[in-house]
């Protein structure tokens, strides 16, 4: 009824308007008609009046149409955008519209939303009930993990971290000299913590050890691998690696019809154990080897006395003197050893069994990798490898020792090719690193073996001899004149092949994901793919914000605070944050203090930007950067490239531009406004971390909206942003 009345009113108004125009025109014409000569109105005056009349009529019509446009075209469009935003998240309602028609429509839509919310709530409630028991198991698991004195890290086959416990974070995130560089995090690569070749080698061993037994009862065997390695902080870790099984994985890594999709690393800090071990080793060695000399003298003197009883008295006294001396020397040695040994009774081995051929393979690969960084290439050829020979060694130490020797040959003697051979020699294994041609003298070789090892950036306090002695072996340098071959020969004790231990296969439960682990990353593909074509939902993001002394980096304004958080697998990780104040080494303007509330006093003594940025760069590794008005922050970062030595060339997404992509008709794209439109509660604004958090939440809410527009990959998001950016520039 109301609508009909409005229509009548509008029709009546339009009729009146047309009538007024017609009457005015008629009056004009009549004024002309009244007097044949044109009356009091000249032609110009009539034309002028006519034009004026037309203008007034047009102006009036335009105002009415513009009003109608705003009311009946723009307002519904805006309402459609609002509706699109509120439909993606429950609990949101359309704002009150200005006109009664849209109000009615809005109310209807809100009723619909309310009904949907009730339904969602109902479904969520049932889901929650179903999940309760699962949650209980999960929290038991989490409690167990947290209590472990060992570090646990679970990774997928690409080395991405899916799960870790608190202990692992403490042990593995520590950098050199006690600094904390947050190397460990969900979705990060384990290779930032451990040597890639070492892990990949262990993984290969894992895969070859895990297989179906071809026997009658087809036993399902799950192998495991062990290695010892050093962390960035210089701690020595013994790692036990076992496989994680799933339905879909890489072909070829199959166990009992299921494939290996990742691995579990259980890490023990053996630094102190190892020190104790080394101490005890030295003690036993001093007892055994130190005892041999005195015993030899004792035995020889005693034998002389009994075999040649006809000797002169003077000679006899000399032998008796020897016996007395050596016996008391031996007693003293035993006393000292007994006193020292009582403290170190527990035994722990650092050495592990490894198939010799596997060791050679990884040594060859490592030498080739390290040796090809320079201009000249270093070829490595394994030759004469005994395939069935097992060794019991410190794998990583041996790896370092052989790489170090090969690289020194390349660096100092320009050797282009080295060969490796491994053969059985009785109950010993003979491992040779050899080359032809280049002359190396004995003295130089001796020094190489006794120098602390340096391989590229890695340095070790140990020498080659230390490592080989740890493995109970010997190493020496030798030349063969005839063949012009020279070699470093290592003799090591051969070991028994270890037996596989069968283990029950347990599959992981599904369910909600607590924040510090995320099994869905199992489905991620390798990092070698271009990020551009990766789905937005799969990427890891670093959401960041900066506070600055002012708005003009080119005029000398500086960063005073960086805050960042991470998004992995569509979840904001509130525990993996970066929050750092920076001393700008320049005064702050009063205006900026009003914005961020940070004063000069707070900043003095904080690190400077050149030391903060490399750490922040490491925090951002392998992620896409997200910021609100990111261009502003990026400019500050890029101004510091030379000073800090790091380049921020990550892909960047800007929530401001994305908001303009999603809601082109909105008047403002300020962070608060977007947050309000998307139902994100705003807290702690104008601290860098607080803003980064809000930006992250906003970004997460945008992802489903972008997907509705068909924007699902990073490339599409960047291209759409670029288009709006240019569009905005034009206005």
């Amino acid at each position: 009824m109301k609508a009909t009345r409005q229509l009548y009113r509008a029709a009546a108004l339009a009729g009146l308007f047309v009538l007024a125009v017609v009457i005015a025109a008629t009056a004009l014409m009549w004024a002309t008609e009244a007097d044949g000569s044109g009356g009091g109105w000249s032609a110009e005056a009539r034309i002028f009046t006519l034009v004026l009349l037309t203008l007034i009529a047009s102006g009036g019509a335009y105002r009415v149409i513009a009003g109608w446009y705003a009311r009946y075209v723009n307002a519904p469009l805006r309402m459609a955008e609002d509706l699109a935003a509120v439909t993606t998240h429950s609990g949101l309602r359309l704002p009150e519209a200005a006109t009664p028609e849209l109000r009615a429509l809005g109310q209807a839509a809100n009723h619909l939303l309310a009904a949907r919310d009730a339904l969602e709530h109902d479904v969520a409630e049932r889901e929650r009930e179903a999940r309760a028991s699962l949650e209980e198991e999960r929290s038991r698991l989490a409690a167990l993990m947290a209590d472990l004195s060992q570090s646990v890290v679970v990774c997928n086959l690409d080395g991405r971290v899916l799960l870790y416990n608190q202990r692992a974070k403490q042990e593995l995130s520590a950098g050199p000299a006690g600094s904390n560089v947050e190397l460990l995090g969900l979705g990060r690569s384990i290779y930032t913590v451990f040597d890639r070749a070492l892990i990949e080698h262990a993984l290969e061993r894992l895969q070859s050890a895990s297989r179906d037994e071809p026997g009658v009862d087809r036993k399902k065997l799950l192998g495991s691998a062990q290695f010892v390695t050093a962390t960035r902080a210089g701690r020595l870790m013994r790692a036990h690696m076992s496989p994680v099984l799933g339905r879909d994985g890489q072909p070829g890594a199959q166990v009992a019809g299921r494939s290996i999709t990742g691995f579990v690393l259980v890490l023990d800090d053996v630094t102190s154990t190892n020190e104790r071990h080394a101490r005890r080793d030295a003690l036993i060695q001093s007892l055994i080897e130190g005892g041999r000399g005195p015993l030899g003298s004792l035995r020889a003197a005693a034998e002389m006395l009994s075999d040649f009883s006809d000797m002169q008295a003077q000679q006899r006294d000399r032998f008796l003197g020897v016996i007395r001396d050596e016996a008391s020397a031996l007693s003293a040695q035993f006393e000292a050893a007994a006193a020292a040994f009582s403290n170190d009774l527990r035994e722990r081995w650092l050495l592990e069994e490894i198939l010799g051929a596997e060791l050679i393979e990884v040594v060859a690969r490592r030498i080739a990798e390290c040796g090809n960084s320079g201009q000249q290439r270093l070829a490595v050829k394994p030759e004469h490898i005994d395939e069935g020979l097992w060794l019991r060694v410190d794998t990583f130490g041996l790896l370092q020792a052989l790489s170090y020797l090969a690289l020194r040959l390349q660096d100092e003697y320009e050797v282009r090719e080295v060969r490796l051979s491994l053969q059985r020699s009785g109950h010993l294994a003979q491992l040779d690193l050899y080359w032809t041609g280049t002359f190396l003298n004995n003295e130089a070789a001796m020094i190489w073996l006794q120098d602390p090892m340096n391989i590229g950036s890695e340095s070790s306090p140990l020498s080659v001899v230390d490592v080989i002695e740890r493995c109970n072996g010997e190493i020496w340098f030798q030349r063969e004149r005839v063949s012009h071959r020279a070699f470093f020969r290592t003799m090591l004790p051969a070991a028994e092949a270890p037996k596989d231990l069968p283990r029950a296969i347990v599959s992981a439960a599904e369910g909600e994901r607590p924040e510090f682990y995320d099994f869905d990353i199992f489905h991620w593909s390798g990092g070698s793919h271009e990020l551009d074509d990766r789905p937005l939902a799969e990427l890891s993001y670093t959401v960041f914000d900066t506070e600055t002394t002012g708005l003009e980096p080119s005029a000398g304004d500086e960063i005073i605070q960086i805050g960042a958080t991470r998004i992995v697998n569509r979840r904001l990780l509130r525990h993996e944050c970066f929050d750092q104040l920076v001393d700008p080494k320049r005064p702050l303007s009063q205006q900026s203090i009003k914005v961020h509330g940070i004063t000069r006093e707070v900043l003095s003594g904080q690190p400077v930007i050149a030391t903060v940025l490399p750490t922040f760069h490491a925090f951002c590794a392998d992620t896409v950067l997200v910021g609100h008005n990111a261009a502003f922050d990026m400019r500050f970062l890029q101004m510091k490239e030379r000073q800090s030595g790091v380049r921020f060339d990550h892909p960047v997404l800007d929530t401001l531009l994305l908001s303009a992509v999603l809601q082109p008709n909105q008047n403002t794209h300020r962070l608060e406004a977007i947050a309000e439109r998307l139902g994100v509660s705003v807290f702690g604004r104008h601290t860098a971390l607080g803003d980064a958090m809000v930006t992250g939440e906003v970004f997460l809410k945008m992802l489903p909206l972008l997907a509705e527009m068909g924007i699902t990959t990073l490339r599409q998001a960047r291209e759409a942003s670029e288009r709006t950016f240019h569009a905005r520039l034009r206005y």
């Binding site: 005195p294 003298s297 075999d307 040649f308 000679q315 032998f319 109950h427």
Partner: protein, 122 residues
Amino acid sequence: MSKKILIADDEQNIVISIDFLLRREGFEVLVAGDGEEALAKVRAEKPDLVLLDVMMPKMNGFDVCQALRADPELSATRILMLTAKGRDTEVSKGLGLGADGYMTKPFSTKELLAEVRKLLET
């Protein structure tokens, strides 16, 4: 003519016994107290056999062995290494560097004598 043997060992207490034993068996005996002295005496006196201890001051037994084998004039000199370390790997290192025989302390003087005779016959 009696064969000439050099004992290179810094342990006086073992040298006393070996010296006594070998003289009783009719060998001409020389003694060196460290690696450098041993090398000098081998070059000067050209003994038929060197009893070479591994752990010696100034220059160890392995280095002396390597130096002796690098000298073509001394290729006839036999080398019997004596060691206070008993590791197999060390034995193979000595033999790898050109020693003719190897004995680990404590050894039986009879076995030492037998080994000395065997090396001097061949």
